[in-house]
């Protein structure tokens, strides 16, 4: 196989170009959001949140068909219900936040699987869960563009609030910052991106596009600005490599992208000169 066959020929197909563009656009916004998820220690919550979108998306499909806006709103409502429900459960009862979130998301996820298995279409559950680049339509691409653009704009305008709320929420509040608003805005952006990434990445794997580039970048960078840039770069490169892998190896696109990003994480964890495993072993174990 020539280099041309390997890297260029696949993009002769319209659906491949659309899939690639959607994945890379969402890689950019996911790379940004992932950094905040990692630094605020919300990685597991993000994972739970992504699973909980399923019933909203499935219900929207059942009621409104393939309308992108409906799918998106369905996912958003399900995500916010999970967040709100677990907040209520943890604030008003003795159940702690992680248990509340963990319990609700699994119920939501089960409801989603149940709904999809009853859908009167030839819809494939595995496409919902793991992504199918073949399914990326023009409307999906427009959604990816809008969501990615919106996320980048929010990061540009509110970068100081985001930094303060992530690094030192108490100081943010002491200087008149609206921590609750930043948190809610961040949650909404995450749900938007998860829904937009559903088609290529699938509900279960979408968070990988956010999390893995951010963790990789975290292992290399000592400044937030460089961490954000590297994370975006890793996400975009991983999406490109993953879409190609999915084409050549016939894999679900979400799985292929996550595997490529996983390789980036493994490399970073081993090789980072200051924070990597090999460097730590050379220093004699602990940090």
């Amino acid at each position: 196989m020539s280099l041309h066959d390997l890297l260029v020929a696949p993009f002769g197909y319209e659906f491949m170009r659309r899939g690639l563009l959607a994945a890379m656009l969402l890689g950019v916004s996911g790379g940004l959001l992932g950094c905040v998820l990692v630094l605020r220690r919300l990685a597991l919550m993000g994972d739970a949140l992504s699973h909980s979108l399923l019933p909203g998306v499935a219900a929207a499909w059942l009621l409104f068909g393939t309308s992108t806006v409906a799918l998106f709103l369905g996912g958003l409502i399900a995500g916010l219900l999970t967040a709100l429900g677990s907040a209520l459960l943890s604030r008003l009862t003795r159940v702690k936040e992680d248990a509340a979130f963990g319990s609700l998301f699994i119920v939501f996820f089960a409801a989603g699987v149940a709904l999809i298995s009853k859908l009167p279409t030839r819809l494939n559950l595995s496409d919902f869960l793991f992504g199918n680049v073949l399914g990326v339509g023009a409307a999906d691409l427009r959604l990816a563009m809008a969501v990615s653009g919106c996320t980048v704009a929010v990061f540009l305008v509110f970068h100081r609030s985001i930094l303060l709320e992530t690094f030192d929420p108490v100081f943010h509040r002491a200087t008149g910052g609206r921590g609750g608003l930043v948190h809610f805005g961040f949650l909404t952006l995450t749900v938007l991106n998860l829904v937009a990434a559903m088609q290529t990445m699938g509900i279960v794997l979408a968070l990988g596009l956010f999390l893995l580039p951010a963790v990789s970048a975290y292992l290399w960078c000592d400044r937030l600005a460089s961490m954000l840039l590297l994370s975006v770069g890793v996400a975009a490169a991983g999406s490109f490599a993953g879409i190609l892998l999915s084409y050549h190896a016939g894999l679900a696109s979400g799985a292929a992208i996550v595997l490529c990003l996983g390789a980036a994480l493994l490399g970073s964890a081993l090789l980072s000169p200051r924070h990597g495993i090999i460097a730590a072993l050379r220093r004699g174990g602990a940090r």
């Binding site: 509110f158 303060l164 690094f167 100081f171 002491a174 200087t175 000592d222 400044r223």
Partner: protein, 250 residues
């Protein structure tokens, strides 16, 4: 304490409750302008609540707090808050200068970038605290004393004249504590008002001119030597090791 017209912060009959739990009971006192004041008491005696009330974060059940002539909300630009060390993620990808620059953020708003005046303020704050040479260093790679100085520099860069410190000595080794004590004494000489929650009575005696001793209610307030008598300390800490703090129900 001096007459009330010299006080920069005044509490009149301040009571704070969390549900049925009384965190502060009927506190009336004044913080003299340009003084350093240690706030002492056992865990749960209301030290942090008192600081949070000055910042305007705490809904008061009764009474009022004035900062200068203003409600705490309107005095925010005058006050700089230094959080507890353990609330900071020291692995965060940020440099010393990055943290100190945060002190300028509140006055920048959404769209204005850091101007020359802002950078000069940051430079001056770092110089005053002797951390200019560490500007590009990630904050994990500092000693405890240096880490504390970074956050004091951020507070200075804010440009206020009232400094509220939550347990600034907690987690510092001996050298770090000495460093911090030296800085705070210098601040007092320069007429800056410092109010700090302090755990250690010996540190309060050495570094602070004034002290407030709390046991949800006010045990004593005034010059440190008059407040931290054996009798007062016994009164304020009598429940330590006995009835847990949460039992202070009304």
């Amino acid at each position: 304490m001096p007459p009330p017209d010299q006080n920069i912060i005044t509490f009149r009959g301040v009571t704070v409750r969390y549900g049925r739990l009384t965190a502060l009971r009927d506190i009336t006192l004044g913080i003299p302008c340009g003084s350093s004041t240690a706030v002492l008491g056992r865990n749960g005696a209301g030290k942090s609540t008192l600081l949070r009330a000055v910042l305007g974060w705490q809904r008061l059940h009764a009474g009022e707090i004035r900062v200068g002539d203003a409600h705490p909300h309107h005095a925010r630009p005058r006050m700089a808050y230094v959080p507890q060390r353990h609330s900071i993620d020291w692995d965060f990808p940020i440099t010393v200068r990055g943290v100190v620059e945060q002190g300028r953020y509140p006055s920048l708003g959404l769209f204005r970038g850091m101007g020359r005046a802002d950078h000069e303020r940051v430079d001056r704050a770092m110089e005053e605290l002797g951390i200019s040479g560490l500007a590009g260093r990630q904050i994990r790679r500092l000693s405890g004393g240096q880490q504390q100085r970074v956050f004091l520099a951020r507070a200075l860069a804010q440009g206020g004249d009232i400094f509220l410190l939550d347990e600034p000595f907690a987690g510092l080794d001996l050298a770090g504590s000495e460093e911090l004590a030296h800085i705070l004494r210098g601040w007092e000489e320069q007429g800056r008002t410092v109010m700090a929650a302090v755990h250690d009575v010996a540190i309060a005696r050495r570094c602070f001119a004034h002290a407030i001793l709390l046991d949800t209610g006010l045990v004593a307030a005034g010059p440190t030597a008059e407040v931290l008598t054996a009798a007062n300390i016994d009164l304020a800490y009598r429940q330590a090791g006995g009835v847990p703090a949460e039992a202070t129900l009304r």
